[in-house]
C-alpha cells in the first residue's frame, strides 16, 4: 500500500515537472549550473572509472584466455563491446547514483527541512520548475555525454593495459574492436545512459523534495536516493536489455 502511495507521489511530482518544463525563464539559470555540476564536474570520476574498468577487463580477459587458442584480437572485441553495451553505462550510472544522486537529494532535502522550499513557494515561485526540472533535464542531457567519455576512456584504458602488460598488442586490440563493432550497441548504451540519467536525478529529486525532519531526515533521503537509484538502474538495465537486444 505504501509503495503505491510513494509511486503516486513520485508520478505526481514528475507530472508537475513535465507541466512546469515550459517555464524556461524560471529554470534557465539553474539548468546551466546543473549541466556544469552533473556533467563537467563528473568528468574526472568518469575518466577514472572508464580507465580502470577497461584496464581490468583487458587484464582479466587475457588471463582467462591465456590457454585458449584464439586470436589476441578477441580480447579487444570482448573489452570494447562489453564497455559499449554494458559497462560504460552501468558502472558510470552506479557511480553517478552516489555522486549526483546523493548531492541532489541532500541539496533539496536541506532546502526542504530549512524551509527554503517553502520560502520559494511563498514568494510565488513554482518550486518544482525552479528546482526539479533543471536537475532532471541536466541528468538526461549530460549522462549520455558522460557515457561517451566513459566509453572512450574505457576502451583507451583497455588498449593501454594490453600494451603495457604485454598481453595484447594495440594493433590486435584495435582490430578486434573494429571487427565486432556494431553501431546499434552504441545506440543501446546511449539509450541506457539517458534512462539512467532520468532515474537517478528524478528519484533523488523526489526523495529530497519530500524529505522530513532535520539532519536525520536529510540523511535518510540521501541514503534512499542512492540505494534506490542503484536498484532502479539494475532493473532498468535488465528491462532495456530484454526489450532492445
Amino acid at each position: 500500500m505504501n509503495a503505491f502511495k510513494e509511486l503516486g507521489k513520485y508520478s505526481s511530482l514528475l507530472y508537475q515537472a513535465l507541466r512546469s518544463s515550459t517555464e524556461f525563464s524560471t529554470y534557465r539559470k539553474n539548468l546551466f549550473h546543473e549541466l556544469v555540476k552533473v556533467g563537467y564536474d563528473s568528468v574526472p570520476i568518469i575518466i577514472l572509472v572508464g580507465i580502470f574498468t577497461g584496464s581490468v577487463m583487458t587484464l582479466q580477459s587475457a588471463y582467462q584466455l591465456q590457454f585458449a587458442f584464439i586470436p589476441l584480437s578477441t580480447i579487444g572485441a570482448i573489452v570494447s563491446e562489453s564497455i559499449l553495451i554494458e559497462l560504460a553505462a552501468v558502472i558510470s550510472g552506479l557511480v553517478l547514483a552516489g555522486k549526483v544522486g546523493a548531492r541532489v537529494a541532500t541539496e533539496l532535502g536541506t532546502m526542504r527541512v530549512s524551509e527554503q522550499i517553502d520560502a520559494l513557494e511563498s514568494m510565488g515561485f513554482n518550486s518544482v520548475s525552479f528546482l526539479v526540472v533543471p536537475r532532471v533535464l541536466a541528468g538526461v542531457m549530460m549522462f549520455p555525454v558522460l557515457y561517451i567519455v566513459a566509453s572512450i576512456f574505457g576502451i583507451g584504458g583497455g588498449l593501454a593495459a594490453g600494451y603495457f602488460s604485454g598481453t595484447v598488442p594495440p594493433a590486435d586490440f584495435l582490430m578486434g574492436a573494429r571487427m565486432y563493432f556494431y553501431p546499434w550497441n552504441v545506440v543501446f548504451g546511449f539509450t541506457k545512459s539517458f534512462v539512467f540519467g532520468f532515474i537517478i536525478t528524478s528519484v533523488a529529486c523526489y526523495k529530497g523534495f519530500f524529505a522530513k525532519g532535520g539532519a536525520e531526515g536529510v540523511g535518510k533521503s540521501t541514503t534512499e536516493a542512492t540505494v534506490l537509484g542503484c536498484i532502479y538502474i539494475l532493473l532498468a538495465d535488465f528491462v532495456l536489455a530484454a526489450l532492445l537486444l
Binding site: T26, Q116, E121
Partner: protein
Amino acid sequence: MIEIRNLTKSFGDNLVWEDVTFRIEDGETTAIIGRSGCGKSVLLKHINALMTPDSGEVLIDGKNIFELDYVGQRKLRQRFGVLFQGSALFDSINTFENIAFPLRYFTDLSEHDIHDKVMAALRHVNLESAAEKGTSELSGGMRKRVGLARAIILEPQYIMYDEPTSGLDPQTADEINELIVVMAEQFDITSIVITHDMHSVLEVADKVAFLDQQKLSWYGTIDQMRQSNQKNLIDFISASEYQIKSKSSI
C-alpha cells in the same frame, strides 16, 4: 482585508483545528498565539494558500483564495512577505543576493536599481554592512533581519512572521519587535505574527487570536485580552508573564 471563515484542517485522523473564524483588518497587526503544536504555523500557511483546508474559506479583498488556480495563487503569494522561523535564507548565495533574489525573477529592474533597492532594504533593518557576507557568517538575529529585508523587498501588502523572536536573546528579540512595528507603520503593511512570546505580542500586536483545544479559543484587542476572564487564556498569559518576570529579575 483578510477574512478567515469556518476554516477546518486535519492531517489524517488528527484534527488540527476546526471552525476557525476571524478577520484581519488592513493596516493592523494581528498576533496568532497558542501553545507549541496547536497549529499556528499551519494556519499561517493557509492564509497565503500554501496549504488547503478540509473546509472553510480565506477571503482576501472578498475573493476566496482556494478558488484561485495555481497561477492565481502564485500571484497572490507575491502580495505576501514571509519571515520564516529559521529565516529560510538560501545558503548557496550571499546576503545581497538573497534579498535581490525576488527582484531578479519578478521585476525588470536594472542591476543599478536592484542594488539601490537591496541596500535600502538593508538600511531599513540596520544591516548595510552585511551585504557581502555569506549566510553562514550571520548570527541568528542578523539572519532574521536579512529574512525581513527579503520579505519586504517586493513591497508586499501583507507580511507574515513565523515565530520572529524564537531562539533570540531578549535584546535582539526587542530589536526584531521594534522592526515589526516600524515596518507596519512605515510601509502601512498588514502584519500577522505567529508567536508564543507574550512580550512580543504586547509590543507589536493590535489584535490577538488565541488557538487552543483545536479551535479559535479567543479573539480580540490587546486591551480586551488584558481584561479577559477566560481561564485558558489567562493560564497561557500567566505562564508567559512568569517567564518575562523571571527573565527581568535575573
